[in-house]
């Protein structure tokens, strides 16, 4: 790993791009798990005897 403080501008730009991509990937994953949970739980809630 190179020292971020000594990186040149293109390297910093590339690092920033990678970080944003990872962040977006994680956000999408969290949203997917949330939506899937709601969909799967939703069906069970509707089928539950009141």
């Amino acid at each position: 790993m190179s020292d971020p403080a000594r990186e040149d501008a293109p390297a910093m730009k590339a690092r920033r791009g990678r970080n944003i991509a990872i962040a977006l990937g994680l956000v999408v994953f969290v949203i997917l798990v949330y939506v899937v949970t709601v969909i799967k739980m939703g069906a069970n809630v509707l089928e539950r005897a009141i």
């Binding site: 293109p10 939506v35 899937v36 969909i39």
Partner: protein, 323 residues
């Protein structure tokens, strides 16, 4: 183990696009297409979001296995014109990073598939990733001329995974879709390898033309083509395909056989002139027949799956006469 560790560290900072390249987006799009066909042909209702998640998991799983393949095969890729520009051999991405990306995406895709759909389809996805990354990449590819015959199973499984994601089962019709891709793979890749065999020979990969010669490869392409066409037509008789599918698979099959016969009678792959260092997809004298079959094989498979997809999406009935 002559792998990416032997390569020099990255010369330039890796961009996110370089990591995307590790996932082989073009292959991923084909996987999505065939998996979607399996998912739709399953014929049972599925929540659209869950269907999209299933396709996403299969696509990411395919990308993960591609990343693992590029990590392990960096030494081979560096020697071939077709692959030396890939992120690891070109020095843009470290081998260890490709390995990490592959492992992480494999775990994420299989876990999400299991939680969102069912664990049977998740198991099939895990098997596919391991089969491609370990059985094909680490073993078959460097060991036997039958590498793409057996290894083709990994590329043939996505429609079964798509089907299993909906139903939790894998009936005979799902495996028929798998069989079509499995039988299609050898004539498709051997036609390509007939005019790229020097590249494979240079890298020490025992592709069929390198090991058995061009004449034997052309004969085996013809044999596999003869076996492929009945398998492609079969869905019209098992309640999977309709009249349109029967027409497309039958007529396309005749063209496929004609091109395979022409290739068999040609000189494709024989004594390529090493002075002509032309591009990968340029055609050397005598290799035009190999190029034609390679190109048509892609069209044929695409048409087969597209026809099935359209028939099922439009609610067209399969051929009841033959059920």
């Amino acid at each position: 183990m002559a792998m990416s560790e032997a390569l020099s560290p990255p010369k330039v900072a890796a961009r996110w696009q370089d990591y995307l390249q590790l996932l082989k987006p073009r292959v991923m799009s084909l996987v999505v297409f065939t998996a979607l066909t399996g998912l739709v042909c399953a014929g049972q209702p599925i929540h659209p979001v869950l269907g999209a998640v299933a396709i996403l998991c299969i696509a990411v799983g395919a990308g993960a296995s591609a990343s693992l393949n590029m990590w392990y095969d960096a030494d081979i890729d560096a020697k071939m014109r077709r692959t030396r520009g890939r992120p690891v051999p070109s020095g843009k991405v470290q081998g260890a990073d490709a390995l990490t990306l592959g492992v992480v995406l494999s775990l994420f895709s299989v876990m999400l598939m299991g939680m969102a759909l069912n664990w049977f389809s998740a198991g099939l996805l895990a098997f596919t990733i391991v089969f491609y990354a370990v059985v094909y990449t680490m073993w078959l590819k460097r060991w036997t001329a039958q590498n793409i015959v057996i290894g083709g199973l990994a590329g043939a499984l996505p429609p079964v995974i798509g089907w299993a994601a909906v139903t939790g089962t894998a009936p005979a019709n799902a495996w028929l879709l798998c069989a079509i891709i499995f039988m299609w793979t050898p004539p498709h890749f051997w036609a390509l390898s007939l005019y790229t065999s020097e590249d494979y020979a240079k890298a020490g990969v025992p592709m069929m033309p390198v090991v058995k010669g061009a004449a034997s490869t052309r004969k085996q392409i013809l044999i596999y083509s003869l076996l492929l066409i009945p398998v492609c037509i079969a869905p019209a008789f098992t309640g999977l395909g309709g009249l349109a599918y029967l027409a497309v698979s039958g007529l396309g099959g005749l063209v496929f056989l004609l091109l395979a016969w022409r290739l068999f009678r040609s000189q494709a792959g024989d004594a390529a002139d090493p002075r002509n260092d032309d591009g990968l997809y340029d055609v050397r004298a005598g290799a035009r027949d190999a190029r034609n079959l390679f190109a048509f094989s892609i069209l044929y498979l695409s048409l087969l799956f597209a026809t099935l997809l359209v028939e099922h999406l439009m609610g067209l009935q399969p051929l009841e006469l033959f059920r």
